[in-house]
Symmetry: C2
Subunit: 217 residues, 2 copies
DNA sequence: TGTACATCAGTGAACGCGCGTTCACTGATGTAC
DNA sequence: TGTACATCAGTGAACGCGCGTTCACTGATGTAC
């Protein structure tokens, strides 16, 4: 009898979780889905089968922890939103004044997107799913990234750097950061200059500065 | 013998094309794919079966005119790029000076995207396909929309309105327009103000104006 | 004008595939007595 | 301390589905003679 190659069937030897510890697997599944997304760079590669296989667990086990595939993807999105928020908060910590904080946030946003393109794509470039549509706005605000942006803009308005209402300005800055990231992700062959991210963010802030150029129409 | 309901099998009675006119079907298939995309608002709904069914033709007939599904989608993208370019050219015709032309182009771009979200998504928000990646840049420039944008920016630079090199400025303006459109498409539940498109485009142009605000750092 | 035949637009049926999901089941864990 | 048993984490096998693609075929069209 020839010994089968180790790992051909079960790549990772798993120990069954202790009695109240069933939720441990939930975290592993979530991490596997996130990793698969990063490695394959393709949302279509994240099937329930692929995730289960990567964890080293049977397919139905996934359904012990997530109602369906959409719930799994939603959980991944929550994680990504949280990480994006953390990246921006970290960048904001180094800022000395509210205006440069705004720029740092923007650059951190785009950098995160470019470093995690498939994660960014899944949260910001997908069609709004029918079921999640109702929760979309709550999901975004729940991640607190949007609240943090609004607060940062408000500080600039209060300090007199920026003109206009907070909400429209925040949405504009978000749109520019998103456009910069999404364009570079979707059309990487375009001849972007080396400082494209920094100069785009800078230009976006320049576009909302108070007392603009004399020639302003 | 009961007569079968008319239309249950073949929704449209088709006449077989004349001898050298086989390519007529190609146009119908392309139009059906485009219409399906618009009606379902879902790229996944555009299967070879669905397209053939909508034309009223058998599935293998599609392969007489397109090498595979990707070729069909590529052809749809070409159409969409062409329509987008036409929309912008039309908007540019009404402009009186190069600066307002730039704004009109931007607004027309976003309007097109919002009116044809699924068409816009397929050309600008999809993962760059492996095979098409090499041709991506050529595809964009071949549509001439990018050339037209570069020329419009150049006119602004030559007239002294805009500061900087043409290419980076054009890419920036594109990124802002794309971000505005893509954010509104992907996150429609966000509280966008009514004039968001116009004010975003205006702000983007303000961000690249020559001799910016005195407070400019 | 009539007919045999080459051309080619289009078809019916099937292929294998991977998918999300479900069902009845297993067997280790921990508790009650 | 020992044992019967309830619990529950996890499984093997199968379900039906729609997909892209291919194969051998049909039959109308138009041409050569």
């Amino acid at each position: 009898v020839t010994t089968p190659l180790r790992g051909t069937k079960a790549p990772l030897r798993r120990h069954r979780a202790r009695r109240g510890q069933g939720d441990l697997l939930r975290g592993e599944i979530l991490a596997a889905a996130t990793a698969l997304l990063a490695e394959t760079g393709d949302e279509a590669a994240v099937s329930v089968r692929a995730v289960a296989g990567r964890v080293g667990v049977s397919v139905p086990s996934v359904y012990l922890h997530f109602a369906d595939k959409q719930a799994l993807l939603d959980a991944v999105c929550d994680e990504v939103f949280g990480a994006l928020d953390r990246a921006m908060e970290e960048a904001a910590n180094d800022a000395t004044d509210p205006l440069s904080e705004l720029e740092r946030r923007g650059v951190a946003y785009v950098d995160f997107a470019l470093q995690n393109p498939e994660h960014y794509r899944i949260v910001m470039m997908r069609r709004p799913s029918l079921t999640a549509a109702a929760h979309e706005f709550e999901q975004i605000t729940a991640s607190r990234a949007f609240d943090h942006l609004l607060a940062a803009v408000k500080r600039c308005v209060d300090a007199g750097y920026v003109e206009g209402e907070v909400l429209p300005v925040a949405l504009y800055l978000w749109a520019v950061a998103h456009g910069t990231a999404a364009l570079m992700i979707a059309k990487p062959a375009l001849p972007f200059p080396a400082d494209f991210v920094a100069s785009s963010i800078r230009a976006s802030v320049a576009g909302v500065l108070a007392s603009p150029a004399p020639g302003d129409r």
